[in-house]
Amino acid sequence: MNDSQNHIRSHYVGLMRNTARSALKAVMEENGLDWLPKSGSQIRPIPVYEGNNINLERYVSRKTLSTSIVWPETQSDTYLPGYYKQIRTKSGENRNEVVVIAENYCYARWIAAKELMHGLIEDDNYPATNSIDLVNQLIDELAAGPHRASCAPQTAVDEAAWLGAAYYLIPSTWIPLLKQMISDIEQQAPDSARDAYLHVAREIRVPEIILRSVLNNPYYIDY
């Protein structure tokens, strides 16, 4: 990747982090969730599409465009657990549609949060994927993962959205307490130590591997 592509990536990572932070603060505040919890009893999953109060899906609708998640009945989710579309309606207004194919609850929340992040990014559609050539480039680069040789703007923003989802679902201010929970399980229930991350991940309803990645990443920015 060249300097320009790295610069674009950094831009979208920063934009996504700030966007996720704003969404998280608003949703937590309106749901009475503690920004700085002192006890495990204060920890609850951050709403993505659930509940009757504000959640991420409703926040995106309120903040930018009308947004909905659809849940198609399909068995084909080997490589594609979800995607995002922005559509201009016949009346001339744009709307967001997030398609979630993932079935597992924690995983579906993760995918939905990632795709909803796209609905919050306003960047004059610079990184839009709106031609067959751009779709092919996006698919190829995302499928190649870390082995790809280049990173187009639409790929950069797509990958940054994963980080946005992590920031949204795992508030950085919760990290010390989440780590304490894991430590407490390891010490007080040694037979369950192997599943300590899984138990804590289940409490906040995120995939275990995502929680592990965040808690063990010294560069996960605290704000």
Partner: protein, 79 residues
């Protein structure tokens, strides 16, 4: 070069107002450009046909002894 089903679908979507698409892709053994496109088309076919399911809900539960540990975990507030 022949136009694939995906290309045809995508062109129709752009004509109908598609502005942007972003994807969550799980890279892995066997992943190909065509396999991903097939999964998009399968999902879109389900949507067009009105085949929807309920959003996933929590099913798994934490064992009571572990839950007690988690709920009683505390941390000292830092200034």
């Amino acid at each position: 070069m022949s136009v694939s089903n995906f290309d045809k679908w995508f062109s129709q979507q752009v004509e109908a107002g598609l502005v942007d698409i972003k994807l969550a892709i799980t890279a892995g053994k066997g992943v190909t450009n065509e396999a991903i496109k097939d999964e998009i088309l399968a999902a879109e076919a389900a949507i067009s046909s009105g085949f929807f399911r309920e959003p996933p809900k929590a099913r798994s539960a934490t064992p009571a002894d572990i839950m007690a540990i988690i709920k009683n975990s505390t941390i000292q507030a830092t200034a």
